[in-house]
Amino acid sequence: MRDIDVSVITDEIEKMCMHANRHLPKDMQEGIKACRACEDGPIACTILDQIIDNFQTADKEEVPICQDTGMACIFLEVGQEVHFTGGALYDAINEGVRRGYTKGYLRKSVEADPIRRGNTGDNTPAMITVDIVPGDKVKITVAPKGFGSENMSALRMFKPSAGLQGIKDFILETVENAGPNPCPPIVVGVGIGGNFDHVALAAKKALLRPVDSHNPDPFYAALEDEMLEKINELGIGPQGLGGKTTAIGVNIETLPTHIAGMPCAVNISCHVTRHETEVI
């Protein structure tokens, strides 16, 4: 057993919330620059230049890249030999978010109740996902997620007869419907399989992968490339004003599923796709 005081988790999350909101991950920076190099639309080139200027400014001046500093999506992979001490783990996570968003001058975007609304004032509660894994380490991923893109995401319970074509059409349809709203260029996280709840989580986890990475299964890796190409033929372009760069990447995650179904979730993210990971 390895004892870890939960205050260590709080401190780490506090730092990560601030850092993730100010510094776009390298994979995203490189991905956007690569898109700029291939872009052939005149308006699109100007917009991509400003998007690059924006994340470089945020990086240098230590300010939030975007004003929507998101809901704090926190993923923990906890080694089963870890024993947390000094308090409740979820409280410690939320305390880290509270401090990071307050000290970091990040926007507090969380409403206490979905219908009756009311800002909680400190961006808690976080959206927490904990997985138990072998070992004695804790892997923390912080991924602030804005809602301009979250709102354009979709989930559909396909029947197996819809086949691969059904999935392809759904991904394209979701990106088409999103149009300019999710601040293109976007990152497309796709979950296929599992059940209603797990497919959505798979799509979200797909967004945690570096944008230039591929699914380890060559079949899905090829599908990622194919969908990226098809999406970029739509011509939506940066900010929806026309261009080649509609998406920077497509990441697909899959799960085994039921004989009667083939769920698919498409989680849209924007050019400010933030994620960072630390291992304790």
Binding site: P64, Q67, R107, K108, K244
Partner: protein, 192 residues
């Protein structure tokens, strides 16, 4: 489509709005007001009760933004546009009251486009996700109403050379439709 940058001094009178065309890149200077969903809802609810708007709507421009808090010594935090479509429910009423300019990102409904045409307004697009850059053009910020709404409170901003693109002009042209169509046409011609 004009490539030149044009400087515009606010307020946005109907006469001025009529000179703006879809695709124009313009730099706005003057006073604008921030409002998002919660502020729009409260403003229109208050109007029903006879409580006036917290700012004079005549020729006003509303910026759909919820900025991050200002760090000490700074005017404002990051301040890029939010998705404008969420304000479609209230925008025609705001336009009919005199607020002619809107700054946001994303598609608008047919009823908003109609109102822009009818009252000679303009929907400007600012780059979504470019909050760090856009904040540099905001020179003054003053909270004027609904403080309890936090990031959704109404603020009066003074902007200088704030970069926007005319998305919907007062003839009802929509750059989201034309910009993409134009790109695809060019792109397909190149391919052949």
């Amino acid at each position: 489509m004009a490539e030149e940058l044009r400087r515009i001094q606010l307020p946005l009178t109907p006469e001025l709005a009529k000179t703006l065309h879809m695709g124009d890149n313009v730099l706005l200077t003057g006073t604008i007001y921030t409002a998002r969903d919660a502020a729009h809802e409260r403003m229109t609810e208050n109007l029903k009760k006879g409580i006036p708007l917290p700012f004079d709507p005549k020729d006003a421009t509303i910026y759909y933004v919820g900025p991050t808090p200002a760090e000490p010594g700074k005017v404002i935090g990051s301040a890029g546009p939010t998705t404008a479509g969420r304000m479609d429910k209230w925008a025609p009423e705001m336009i009919s009251l005199g607020a002619r300019g809107m700054i946001g990102k994303g598609k608008r409904s047919a009823s908003v486009i109609e109102a822009v045409k009818k009252y000679s307004g303009c929907y400007f697009g600012a780059i979504g996700g470019a909050g760090a850059l856009l904040a540099k053009h905001i020179k003054k910020c003053r909270l004027i109403a609904y403080e309890d709404l936090g990031p959704e409170a109404i603020r009066e901003l003074y902007v200088e050379d704030f970069p926007v693109t005319v998305i919907i002009d007062c003839e009802g042209n929509d750059l989201y439709k034309s910009g993409r169509a134009e790109y695809l046409k060019l792109h397909n011609e190149k391919k052949q």
